[in-house]
């Protein structure tokens, strides 16, 4: 593990141990985090809504359980932040869009219920690129989030607010959603661990839909152990999500502990040639070097490392930008000013709907809706959406075949470290941020990002670990080994 004693930020594991043992109260932990939010979030803008009263009440309930000798749950007293596309009963859920600015859900999402049942304390709702469409949080209708490590730079996106909340110490852990890299890329840019579970491992009940066959909820954390603890709480079958996987996953907390105890001797690790970034101008040399150094570190730890080619991996970005907008154009058709959300006046129903959608959606959302509408329209369906769906089939079979010989695959997470605001104003340049992360969304496989040293401008670099469906345990084992081998970071980290 990297040196974490120089930083003032405690891990979720340390906090919940202190709360469960009575060494600290959950209320004092919540107050400390609320004080940091009050002092710092005017600048960072990690949160759309801070839930101070609810957080203190939830923390007091945890303290009562501890005092009464009851089990307060595995995340007792741990401050957690939720991306503002996860429904919270009685608390605005905006998706950082004007069209949902005043919408208050009448129910909690499944992950919210699970976190609360585990004793976690919800601190608030975090900023995102509108409807999770973007890689910098610059597309939020309520203004961007700043990277706490360097406020002239973006935190990544779309879950930039959730990443910034953890990096700034506003919450110990947080949840994001990942449709093409929206957890892993901001985790990399903020020096955090970020996990996209197997599609269907975590219930999407109460997650506002962007691209339903790709969306998945997962955690941000300071270290692999914290990420595993949150994963274990939020994963599991839910009958309210028809895509929820019935099989039970093993404990990731135990997988991490086992890796730390016995290592990864014999683990088969593949470097994906097409995602390595070698020879590509869009990849920063420090990022490519970090990917190679991570492979060396895993080999030194006893893994069997080989290079492997997955030809369709290069088509991931293109296929994604046909499939995700197509699904989005369908999902976002529900915002019409009739049943909830923004309504603008119009002389008839159609003009009212068009006026409401035109005023309520930002440019990136409009681009994707139009792109998807086009890709699905008569005469173009086969050439765009249909072709992309067939590429998706090819990609899944190629990855499945490679996984016969490898337990996990690695690559850089993002082609670059955190960039300055406005640096990627051209949509295609922005889309390219997700070139390494998109394949796991198309295949449905799990993937995560782990910090591995610093790159340009002293900003953190993330390394991505991918694994076959439902094989998160091997992914977490690898992550724990990488964390142990990672160069110490002077600028960030958490202490026990």
């Amino acid at each position: 593990m990297s040196d974490r004693t120089s930083s003032p930020l405690p891990t979720a594991a340390a906090l919940t141990t202190a709360v469960r043992s009575g060494e600290r109260t959950a209320v004092s932990v919540a107050e400390e985090h609320l004080a940091r939010i009050a002092a710092g979030d005017d600048e960072i803008h990690a949160f759309n809504t801070v839930m101070a009263d609810q957080a203190l009440a939830a923390a007091a309930a945890v303290d009562e359980k501890v005092a009464a000798g009851e089990d307060p749950g595995p995340l007792a007293g741990v401050p957690v932040a939720l991306k503002d596309n996860m429904c919270t009963r009685g608390v605005a859920t905006t998706c950082s869009s004007k069209i949902l600015e005043d919408w208050v859900p009448p129910y909690d999402g499944a992950v919210v219920e699970r976190l609360q049942a585990a004793g976690a304390v919800v601190m608030g709702k975090t900023n995102l690129d509108e409807f999770a469409m973007g890689s910098s949080t610059e597309n939020s209708a309520f203004g961007p989030t700043l990277n706490p490590l360097d406020t002239s730079r973006v935190p990544g996106g779309s879950s930039g607010g959730s990443a910034a909340a953890v990096a700034a110490g506003f919450s110990a852990v947080s949840l994001g959603s990942d449709t093409g890299g929206s957890i892993r890329q901001p985790a990399a840019l903020c020096g955090l661990v970020g996990v996209k579970p197997t599609y269907g491992a975590v219930s999407r009940y109460g997650l506002v839909a962007f691209a339903s066959s790709l969306d998945q909820i997962g955690p941000f954390a300071h270290d692999v152990t914290d990420a595993a603890m949150v994963f274990d709480v939020i994963a599991g079958h839910d009958g309210r999500d028809s895509t929820s996987i019935p099989e039970q996953l093993p404990s990731m907390t135990e997988a991490v502990a086992a890796s730390q105890a016995v290592g990864i001797d014999g683990l088969r690790v593949g470097i994906v040639t097409e995602l390595s970034g070698r020879g590509l101008d869009a990849f920063e040399p420090e990022v490519v070097a970090a990917g190679a150094a991570a492979a060396d570190a895993l080999a030194a730890a006893g893994a069997k490392v080989d290079e492997v080619s997955i030809p369709t991996a290069v088509a991931g970005l293109s296929a994604y930008y046909m499939i995700a907008p197509a699904e989005a154009s369908s999902n976002l058709a529900r915002y019409d000013g009739v049943r909830y959300g923004l309504r603008q006046p119009g002389p008839n129903t159609a003009s009212m709907m068009a006026a409401s959608r035109t005023a309520g959606f930002g440019d990136e959302v409009k681009r994707r809706i139009m792109l998807g509408t086009y890709a699905l329209s008569a005469g173009y369906y086969d050439a765009f959406y249909g072709k992309a769906q067939r590429i998706r089939t090819l990609m899944i079979s190629e990855f499945d075949k490679v996984y016969e010989d490898f337990d996990v695959l690695i690559s850089p997470t993002s082609p670059c470290v955190a960039f300055e605001f406005g640096a990627k104003a051209d949509p295609l340049t922005m889309y390219y941020n997700d070139v390494c992360t998109i394949p796991a969304n198309l295949t449905g496989h799990p993937a995560m990002s782990v910090p591995f040293g610093l790159g340009a401008h002293g900003m953190p670099v993330g390394v991505q670990i991918m694994a076959p469906a439902m094989q998160e345990a091997d992914m977490f084992r690898t992550a724990a080994a990488l964390e142990t081998a990672a160069p110490a970071l002077e600028t960030q980290g958490a202490s026990e």
Binding site: S213, S242, D281, A315, R339, Y340, R367
Partner: protein
């Protein structure tokens, strides 16, 4: 490898693939209103993204089935049980009231919209 990998510099805006008329039609289908400036800007940007589809044509997919969902799920069913039987009381009425509370214009337990045909007086 740079000749096969998707690159942000490998595409040119304003592809003949997409005209402003195409985009105007798509915007109308999607119930979005665009100014002339927006129409021109969006047309160039959308054409550049559609050019990405050329990357897909290097792969032969003639005998490949499409994938709509990564794990090919079948329909999942549950029993349709009235919520009052599950939660007791008059929960259905409460839920109806909560759902209607989010409506921009509500009358007699219904969402109200301007005329569907013609125009409001």
């Amino acid at each position: 490898m740079s000749d096969t990998a998707p690159s942000p510099s490998g595409t040119e805006p304003g592809s003949p693939r997409l005209s402003t008329d195409d985009v105007a039609k798509v915007a109308q289908l999607a119930l979005l209103e665009l100014s002339d400036d927006e129409l021109n800007t969006f047309t160039g940007q959308l054409a550049a993204v559609l050019d990405l589809a050329d990357e897909l044509n290097q792969f032969d997919t003639d005998n490949v089935a499409p994938t709509a969902h990564p794990f090919g799920l079948f329909n999942v069913f549950r029993e349709d049980v009235p919520v009052d039987e599950i939660e007791g009381g008059d929960r259905a009425a409460e839920l109806r009231a909560e759902a209607l509370a989010a409506g921009p214009d509500v009358e007699e337990n219904q969402f109200k919209v301007p005329p569907a045909l013609g125009e409001a007086p």
